[in-house]
């Protein structure tokens, strides 16, 4: 903390602004991705083993959600059940689409014995386009593990944030 006392107020404000710029840029990139892909959550981490051996817990998925992309059997979609926050990554196994484009579909995890009807809301038998967060287009293995560790061990998350904050505030450009 000797360093911190030696800096005058101006330098401190400068450091804080630098930090704010980094955070803003990161946010802008994230928002930009949301716009380009059309999905509210263009990057998701696989949370369960229900799609093994294709995807394991901790894998990272890249999604798109273009409005005109039709939903077809065999596609891997990420959806949210009404009222719940957790995104689920499963495969579409049945679709029934009307002429006007209204579609209802059923999903199932590759590694599950039964389809997802048990996961849907009480009385809900089908999913609709509005439940879809996006379609899985690409994936990277293991990379999402960091998010899972931070969720399961919050102390790790705070420690990481503290270290990052201290580094950014104390680093000085000479």
């Amino acid at each position: 903390f000797g360093d911190l006392r030696r800096m005058n107020k101006r330098q401190l404000y400068y450091q804080v602004l630098n930090f704010a710029m980094i955070v803003s840029s990161a946010l802008m990139i994230w928002k930009g991705l949301i716009v380009i892909t059309g999905s509210e959550s263009p990057i998701v981490v696989v949370l369960s083993g229900s799609m093994e051996p294709a995807f394991h817990r901790g894998d990272l998925l890249f999604l798109t959600n273009f409005h005109d992309d039709p939903i077809r059997a065999g596609e891997i979609v990420v959806f949210k059940v009404e009222g719940r926050d957790i995104p689920i990554v499963h495969r579409v196994i049945k679709i029934h689409e009307k002429e006007n484009g209204n579609i209802k579909f059923l999903t199932k995890g590759d590694n599950n014995e039964v389809d997802d009807r048990g996961l849907y809301k009480e009385g809900q038998n089908w999913l609709e386009k509005k439940d879809v967060v996006g379609r899985a287009r690409g994936f990277l293995p293991y990379v999402g593990m960091v998010t899972i560790i931070m969720n399961d061990y919050p102390k790790f998350k705070y420690a990481l944030l503290a270290v990052m904050g201290a580094y950014v505030l104390l680093k000085r450009e000479s």
Partner: protein, 141 residues
């Protein structure tokens, strides 16, 4: 890719239930259309599925996955399956299977890479299955 099928519809209170048995032969053709060439260094597995596609009065487009299989890298890439029953119940949303002459079965697969893009590929060759005009009440499955 060749498929041979036999089918009939069973009665249910509200929706038609179809029963299909099929054979799948994945031929090794001229090196461009076989599964061997799909398994390159970045392919972890193939998720194969047989889907039935048809339209009915109720719905302009219906697709139902009847059967699927995971083929890992290193497994025998040739398929010789005979007299397979569908893995999943072939329910229609309504009564559109009865007398439907135009139900098409296609084999497709999802290429799962070690890392990268996840493409969905449809196999060449599909089979049209006409469903009979009457319900069968006595066949057991």
């Amino acid at each position: 890719l060749r498929k041979n099928v036999e089918d009939f519809t069973g009665p249910r209170e509200r929706s038609d239930l179809g029963f299909v048995t099929f054979d799948i032969t994945a031929d090794i053709l001229n090196g461009k259309n076989d599964f061997c060439s799909i398994f390159d260094w970045n392919v972890k597995q193939l998720f194969l599925y047989l889907s039935a596609e048809y339209s009915t009065k109720n719905n302009a487009l219906n697709q139902v996955v009847l059967w699927d299989k995971i083929m890992l890298r290193g497994e025998n890439p040739r398929l010789f399956l005979k007299d397979m029953k569908s893995k999943y119940f072939f329910f229609d949303d309504g009564n559109g299977l009865k007398g439907n002459r135009n139900v098409t079965l296609t084999l497709s697969w999802n290429v799962v890479p070690n890392a990268g893009i996840l493409p969905l590929v449809t196999g060449s060759g599909h089979v049209s299955v006409p469903f009979p005009d009457t319900y069968e009440t006595t066949k057991s499955y």
